[in-house]
């Protein structure tokens, strides 16, 4: 089963409900019958990392990129995912597409 490492920013003043984004994403994956292992343990190796930043400043991204080890990642930063503006309610749908694309590029198959 493909795995996604979950990292949250500190959440000082988020513009989006970060846990709701993940909750909705999980529900959507379930509806589509897609199985993904979400892992919060930073020590475990994962296929991709999912950075959930509450706002566009994206403290987590900064820290993550600075750390030097940069596995494939998707960065939610407020109402932005990577380099695209996405309304909060559309973020889970958008993430599903991103996740499928990323896994495809990693494994050359949809590994769900």
């Amino acid at each position: 089963m493909p795995s996604i490492g979950i990292r949250y920013c500190g959440g000082c003043n988020p513009q989006i409900d970060r846990s709701k984004v993940l909750r909705n994403l999980k529900e959507l994956l379930k509806k589509k019958d897609l199985q993904v292992d979400f892992i919060t343990d930073k020590e475990r190796s994962v296929d991709i990392v999912f950075l959930i930043n509450g706002c566009m400043h994206a403290c987590l991204e900064e820290e993550f990129l600075r750390s030097g080890h940069n596995p494939q990642h998707i960065s939610v930063k407020g109402e932005m995912v990577d380099d695209q503006y996405i309304k909060e309610e559309s973020i889970p749908d958008f993430l599903i597409k991103k996740i499928i694309d990323l896994f495809n590029s990693l494994h050359n198959v949809i590994s769900f």
Binding site: H57, A58, Q84, Y85
Partner: protein, 511 residues
């Protein structure tokens, strides 16, 4: 890459031949017109300091297009550090001039158009961004100062641009040709317009589909055929012609030297057009520009505050009252207000973010808070400066009376202060405080980069009020509080039922 010095910048203006009117007269040479000198000097400082190793770290940047060193006023911000250095540069230049140095409008225009053209191209497959990058490269290579021309004349503001009685009330496309567009319209109170090399236009407001010909951004040389400038009046402006002393800041003037720019059937080639009808991106461009520009005010106006605070303290010393507790208290108030605004602008820079274009933008909520504070606090610290300086700032005799042997001697004697403070210096400082606290600088702090209502609209839009209501509902006990329940180890309702029972038992014991 060229990085002009102050002197080279001034000489570069001689190559231009714009059509400028002031006091009903056509101005023959910008550089030789004494009424324009202070504004030109203030802009020249932005060039001059870039060559001083003491300030180069702030005043210069590395171009992301060429990797070469450029004046920061032509730079597109590539990281948070760039945003921070930009506002540090604003404060520095405010300190050095005591007024507006004009060049930030073009800088913010360059950045806002860079960010927005990328987004337009993503949606429509246009090539505005590449086109703009070529223009930006030329700006950097030549160290040009483009004026940022955003605000239109606007006429009846209850009507949309396309519904105005006079079509030129807003700048618009009159005709689309194979090789470019023909534009007409008026841009109003454009800072630094008469001493800029280029004009960089942007729409002034959100446009609808019916206004798509008004959804327009382009760049042209300042002396393009069909462009006319009318230089604006400012408080006490003709004092510049009365001598040196009365103007207060004869070197750098007062506010930015604003002008009307009238475009009459001006041809703009397509390679210099960066928006032509994409009305759904006007709001984006306006808000992006406004965000950058509003953040600046917590830099430049605080630099001005540094000057006026220093001037106020000096005058208090000259008057022999610097140790009075009320003076110390007033100066401390001024400092606290200025540093509050500085904190705001640093915060909106440090909290900035990377846009899809790769350029960095400030935090828009905090930038608008910065500017809203400026609209109030500049008035307040200038009021305190007037308070400390005393009534003399509005009743001083003229320089001509000082020069007059009949009156000059007695005036100098009466205006002498504490030992070591020459009367002429006291008059100079009082004139500077008058210039900074009584004149056009105040409404400029109010309306420059948009009026307070505009800031409040953006603050309200970005406040996240729904999130705040949820927070309140959780603290008030309306929403479930999972952390509280975790702390107490049970469901909240059960906890309060138990608590009520315990309190009741306790009351029975007491009474």
């Amino acid at each position: 890459m060229t990085m002009m010095t102050g002197k080279e910048y001034i000489e570069s203006l001689r190559a231009l031949n714009p059509e400028i009117y002031f006091f009903g007269q056509k101005i023959k040479s910008i550089v030789d017109e004494p009424m324009f000198h202070p504004h030109i000097h203030a802009a020249a400082i932005t060039y001059e300091l870039a060559h001083d190793p003491e300030y180069a770290e702030i005043m210069t940047a590395t171009s992301h297009l060429t990797g070469e060193k450029i004046n920061r006023f032509t730079h597109v911000h590539q990281n948070i550090d760039d945003l921070v250095k930009k506002v540090r540069m604003m404060r520095l230049l405010g300190k050095k001039t005591g007024t507006c140095f004009q060049r930030c409008v073009g800088l913010d225009g360059l950045n806002a158009i860079y960010v927005t053209t990328y987004d337009i191209d993503q949606k429509y497959g246009t090539s505005y961004h590449e086109r703009f990058k070529k223009y930006l490269l030329e700006v950097q290579e030549n160290d040009w100062m483009p004026s940022g021309a955003m605000t239109d004349a606007r006429g009846d503001r209850s009507l949309r641009p396309s519904k105005q009685k006079h079509p030129d009330t807003y700048l618009h496309i009159k005709e689309r040709l194979g090789d470019g567009i023909i534009v007409s319209g008026i841009k109003a109170h454009i800072t630094g317009a008469i001493n800029s090399h280029k004009i960089l236009t942007m729409p002034t407001r959100t446009m609808g589909e019916e206004d798509k010909d008004y959804a327009l951004s382009f760049a042209i040389p300042a002396d393009t055929k069909g462009v006319t400038y009318v230089f604006s009046r400012q408080t006490n402006d003709t004092r510049r012609l009365d001598g040196v002393l009365d103007a207060g800041n004869p070197k750098y003037g007062i506010v930015g030297g604003e002008a009307l720019i009238i475009f009459k059937d001006v041809f703009v080639p397509w390679e210099r057009v960066f928006m032509a009808g994409e009305y759904d991106f006007t709001n984006k461009l306006v808000e992006t520009f406004a965000g950058y520009h509003r953040s600046n005010y917590g830099g430049c106006k605080v630099g001005l505050a540094d000057v006026v605070i220093g001037g106020s303290n000096w005058i208090a010393e000259a008057h022999g009252i610097a140790n009075a507790s009320h003076i110390i208290d007033k100066l401390t108030e001024m400092i606290a207000m200025a540093e509050t605004c500085w904190s705001c602008t640093l915060a909106c820079s440090y909290e900035g973010y990377r846009t899809p274009s790769g350029a960095y933008h400030i935090n828009p909520l905090l930038a608008n808070v910065t500017k809203l504070n400026i609209t109030r606090m500049v008035y307040e610290w200038m009021r305190v400066a007037q308070d400390i300086a005393g009534g003399k700032i509005i009743t001083l005799p003229s320089e001509k009376d000082l020069d007059n042997p009949e009156s000059g001697k007695i005036i100098e004697e009466c205006f002498s202060g504490k030992e070591g403070f020459p009367p002429l210096d006291i008059i100079k400082m009082l004139r500077l405080i008058e210039n900074m606290s009584v004149g056009a600088g105040l409404p400029e702090a109010m309306h420059g980069a948009g009026s307070p209502a505009a800031q409040k609209i953006m603050i309200a839009r970005r406040s996240g009020i729904d999130i705040k209501m949820d927070l309140a509902k959780t603290v008030a006990g309306i929403n479930k509080d999972k952390y509280f329940e975790s702390i107490i180890g049970k469901d909240e309702n059960t906890h309060w039922d138990e608590m009520k029972k315990k309190i009741k038992e306790k009351m029975v014991q007491i009474y």
